[in-house]
Amino acid sequence: MDNFLTLFETYNVPAAFWVNIQLTFWAAVWSLVLGTLLALMRISPIPSLQWLGAAYVNIFRNTPLTIIIAFGVLGLFGQLQVSLTDDFNLNFFRLAILGLTIYHAAFVCEAIRSGVNTVPLGQAEAARAIGLSFLPAARLIILPQAFRGAIAPLGNVLIALIKNSTVAAAGSVAAEASSLMKTMIEFRGDLVIPIFFTFAIGFVILVIPVGLLTTWASRRLAVAR
């Protein structure tokens, strides 16, 4: 037991989780923005935009996240010299956020679309009937109700995103939790099982409130019809 506790003196576990929280936060914000745009494209009356939105979702939802993240480092940075900042480590961090965003935006799009399906067609018809064109109708009438109907599926995407933030390890973000776990196991093979449990429990602690919160919010904010 004492052996185990010394681990926390040698390795800064909370700091590693903090990196995952930051990755999650920024990827969640950007994938919500991108996912909303994609959902708008998919429900728009313009066929070419619908096609583009569907193509995006089908490509990135069906590509393994590891490949997308690794491409960020080896393809975008290594080969194409794409750099999001001059700071070497921060660049990997941002590329990882980019990869997480691109991947999860596809899921956010589909979650929002499931929310749109909870909005009766009559709402859109009434919006059009008073003279709102597509974008104002979407912004004022459809999306506010769709988001409220999509809280639970969006919560699921967020939960997946929290855990998937560990894939940033494949994108050379060495400070995040699963990378630290690997390092710890390398140096303290005698404690491999407690180390596994530490990180597993850490993620469970992060994820449980998200589940509780979204379940509560989806009930609280449900649109009364």
Binding site: P45, E125, A129, A224
Partner: protein, 258 residues
């Protein structure tokens, strides 16, 4: 300056407010509107009746292009219905619509439901829109519910709010698509009363309904549709007492038997 007669004004009162010419629509193999010709004059109240599946709702919804048509032409106030985009939105703002299922914006208060169009579509100031909305809500008798959400109101109240919402756009014509069909019997009259009042004020109205009482009381003309065609049209008195076609006699026999 001499005041010359305005040719545009005289022209606008000469043409019918709503006109349909040779309008056809199919749902797959089903021919739901067959060569519909219809003209509605300014201030006229037209009631469309007919058995279900006769195309009367489709006809009503086609006039503000919630249903597209396959061929033919629909004009509102002398302008052909635009296909899409801003021009269509502008035209829809001039055509009020009341739906069978009310379709009030579920996440907005009663007041917001009515002010949304004037503010967002017409760019009216918030205070002015609120004043307009409250006067319209008062007119249909639901001003005391202004801060509630639609789900907190009865069906009859919701439908009267829907009428106020449409009127807030100061439409040239109002379309009613079976406005009382989803209501409990004791709520039908409150909605019909609001509609009769509107008709008396000279609003141009196209009303799809099964309410024969309303047709007798408020309609200038009854249009009887069956199988996607306009089978017969006449004044309410003429139509109800002396229908010409077998189809109309059969229909009236069924609904007026009790």
């Amino acid at each position: 300056m001499t005041s010359e007669p305005q040719p545009s004004t005289s022209a606008s009162s000469a043409h019918p407010l709503v006109s349909l010419r040779k309008v056809n629509k199919h749902y797959g193999p089903l021919h739901v509107l067959k060569d519909i010709d219809l003209e509605v004059a300014r201030g006229e109240v037209v009631v469309v009746i007919g058995p279900s599946g006769s195309g009367k709702s489709t006809l009503c919804r086609a006039i503000n292009r919630l249903e597209t048509i396959d061929d033919g032409e629909i004009q509102v106030d002398g302008k052909v219905l635009p296909a899409e985009g801003k021009a269509l939105a502008r035209l829809r703002a001039d055509v009020g619509m009341v739906f069978q299922s009310f379709n009030l914006f579920a996440h907005k208060s009663i007041l917001e439901n009515v002010t949304l169009g004037p503010i967002k579509v017409k760019g009216m100031k918030g205070g002015e829109a609120k004043e307009l909305a409250m006067s319209l809500l008062k007119r249909v008798g639901v001003d005391n519910q202004a801060d509630k959400l639609p789900a907190q109101l009865s069906g009859g109240q919701q439908q009267r709010v829907a009428i106020a919402r449409a009127l807030a756009m100061k439409p040239k014509v109002m379309l009613f698509d079976e406005p009382t069909s989803a209501l409990d019997p004791e709520m039908i009259n409150e909605v019909l009363d609001a509609m009769v009042a509107l008709a008396k004020e000279g609003m141009t109205m196209i009303v799809v309904t099964h309410e024969m009482g309303f047709a007798r009381k408020a309609a200038d003309r009854v249009i009887f549709m069956a199988d996607g065609q306009i089978v017969e049209q006449a004044t309410p008195e003429e139509f109800f007492t002396n229908p010409k076609s077998e189809r109309a006699k059969d229909f009236l026999g069924k609904i007026l038997a009790h």
